[in-house]
């Protein structure tokens, strides 16, 4: 295992006084997960092609639940815990958790949206004549807002913090700043997920 030390740029004397925490070796994009992502994408394409209700519902609900639960859990459970951990423990959790998020989150979002749109088309939910069309549009707006935050702030922070930790001498200030950005945006999308839950349960019960 190739371990590297964290210390501020050029702060050799300080690093000598305070031993830098060890960073475990990790992959920014876990290659072992790529075949799983590919399999999920194939399943999605097949489900859309056959246009049957059950596979579409299955993929939409499973991916949507994954997205919702991870956002809520990261924002309100893991985030506050992470903030209180020691630096070495935080690095340990970050290097194990965040590479997985690089694969899981975009996959969950893409599957939720694609399967959801196909399902809405099949069930006629996206027709303006549908009784609860306003709720459907509200879900588009909430998902759109979450997408802007997740893609514009959260995902870049995720990749950037992992890239920083891969450097021979990661900058603790940069790691701290990016981790804060990640946790706060996860909290914001977690809050919006509550709105998604309200809308989806409203649509499901009619």
């Amino acid at each position: 295992m190739a371990d590297v030390a964290v210390s501020p740029h050029g702060a050799v004397a300080e690093a000598d006084l305070h031993p830098a925490p060890q960073i475990p070796d990790f992959e920014i994009v876990p290659r072992a997960g790529l075949p799983i992502v590919a399999a999920v994408v194939v399943l999605l394409v097949v489900a859309i092609a056959v246009d049957e209700k059950w596979p579409l519902m299955f993929l939409h609900v499973v991916a949507g639940a994954t997205w919702t639960i991870i956002d809520l859990f990261l924002g309100f459970v893991i985030g506050p815990i992470l903030g209180k951990l020691s630096i070495p423990a935080r690095i340990e959790v970050t290097t194990r958790l965040m590479p997985k998020m690089v694969l899981i989150m975009p996959t969950a979002v893409a599957v939720t949206l694609a399967a959801g749109w196909q399902l809405a088309t099949k069930l006629g939910y996206n027709l303006t004549s549908y009784q609860y069309h306003g709720w459907v549009v509200a879900s588009f707006i909430v998902v759109g807002a979450m997408a802007v935050i997740a893609l514009g702030l959260l995902e870049p922070a995720n990749i950037a913090v992992l890239t920083e930790l891969k450097k021979p001498r990661p900058n603790p200030e940069v790691v701290e700043r990016l981790m804060k950005r990640f946790i706060y945006t996860a909290g914001a999308t977690g809050l919006m997920q509550v709105a998604t839950l309200v809308i989806m349960t409203r649509l499901a019960t009619g």
Binding site: V45, P106, V109, L113, G144, P156, A160, T163
Partner: protein
Amino acid sequence: MSDERRLPPVTQLGMLSLALIVAGVIYLSAHLPERVSLGPAIALLAASALLLVGNVVALRRTEGFAWGRFVEVGRWALLAYAIIAGLIEYVFLRNDTSGGPLVVLSLSLLVFALTVPVLIAFTVARYDDAAPGPNRS
């Protein structure tokens, strides 16, 4: 710190570009498959594309930006988001979206698939050690 170099507001403009494109897609999705006026969606698409181009131009003028890292990260992010945009495009094609709405949606997805990699690559590269700028590389 390397991020204290003067950099254009790429993240802010990129998020605005993303918000405009998302608003355009929501507008179209809220009306499809029925007839929909394309004017608002085209205006949002044009504004979003302009912001994207402006972002890249502003970044190109930045001295000492880590272009090597930007390209290294950006190409993989582009591959990932091209696949995601392709999946969404496939759903619209599968549901017989055609004509003007399809063109606007496709271009919107193109801008989306370019904007997100720019944001990811910029966030990584801004914290990289200063590298030769585009004019010197």
